[in-house]
Symmetry: C2
Subunit: 191 residues, 2 copies
DNA sequence: TAAAATAATCAACACCGTGTACATTTGTTT
DNA sequence: AAACAAATGTACACGGTGTTGATTATTTTA
């Protein structure tokens, strides 16, 4: 957001690099993707790559950051922004729709040869939202709370992974419903 | 198990390689660990490494396989082997104790720069156990079942991750109790 | 539109880890 | 002691890396 509009050339370059990179990630793990390959696939000089990214990891991180930004945006204003004590079904649905619309990248980031650090980051983001929602409405036994939220967040992300893996045969609404049901049921005993 | 007892030299070599490797993994991600480093740390010739492993990934996979073997072993005979319909608290406790006793490797495999494929494998193993336990005792609505089991398995593994991350300040019993409580509560509504 | 600024290209370079080969030395087993 | 297996040392070609400096192309500005 703080970024200036970039040169058309830069926009184009970053775009082809990104496309080539993702195409490669569909076929092999990050660790085996070379800068050379990326540039050949993008039809770009290798020196140009280094003008924008330190290495393929750096490139991946930038893609991941974009993703986190988008998701936290959706999380922030689910049904309108207010904390109801329950996680807003609307927020969950919106996130799932976003995942659906970006299935290609999501599958790469969350499944197969994805980045575990990133998975933990996403899980933490979602977990934090659970914490915010629940501690606002009900008192929490601190000791157990962390584990419970972690359980719920990991479980939710795991559901999303399975959903992606299976080709998203269910609607975001269906999945959101199931997810909230599991989550709230898990909490009901503790607070 | 099917392996013959190895030459003392081989045992020693594999041991020092493994130790050196793990030490490196504590400091940097697998993708940045070189064969050269491993051998220098192990005080071993590079050619010797290649006599036993194809590359560092291969080495990691062998370590992971050992781990999975152990865990599936504990899962199989929790309270004695029979399926009660509930997941045996004893089995869970034993797994957690194993994790505790091998905290160093577990932390490397499951947290930080670990292998996402491996995480999914472990999750699948645990999920399968949930399936076996529950479908044995109660009828399941097939459509939702997969997601629910995935949720529970991911949640459980997530709890273990957090436990490791925090330095295992709680006993295996405490964690096992919390885990089963979350899991069974999640199911109670569906079956 | 011309000039200044920025981006991409091209070619060349030293560097380093890789994987393999083969002869040699060390140790294990029979 | 002899036969075998494992580890060492050395050397090699190969390929990707990251950087540099000069050149060409494109965008911005004055």
């Amino acid at each position: 957001m703080g970024e200036k509009k970039q040169d058309h050339r830069v926009r184009f370059t970053k775009l082809v690099i990104r496309d080539s990179f993702i195409a490669l990630l569909k076929a092999k793990p990050l660790s085996k993707v070379t800068v050379k390959e990326i540039c050949e696939g993008a039809g770009i000089n290798r020196a140009t790559f280094y003008a924008h990214y330190a290495d393929p990891f750096d490139l991946l991180h930038q893609i991941e950051e974009e993703f986190v930004e988008e998701v936290t945006l959706y999380i922030g204003n689910g049904a309108g922004g207010e904390l109801t004590g329950d996680i807003s079904p609307d927020a969950v649905r919106k996130i799932l729709e976003y995942v659906q619309n970006n299935a290609e990248i999501c599958d790469i980031l969350l499944n197969s040869d994805g980045d575990l650090r990133f998975l933990q980051e996403i899980t933490a983001v979602i977990g934090r939202q659970f914490v915010a929602s629940w501690t606002a409405s009900k008192p929490v036994k601190k000791a157990e709370a962390e584990y419970i939220f972690q359980y719920s967040a990991s479980g939710s992300v795991g559901m999303i992974q399975k959903w992606l893996e299976g080709g998203m045969k269910h609607t975001p609404e269906e999945l959101a419903g199931l997810m909230l049901r599991m989550t709230q049921r898990g909490y009901s005993d503790f607070f």
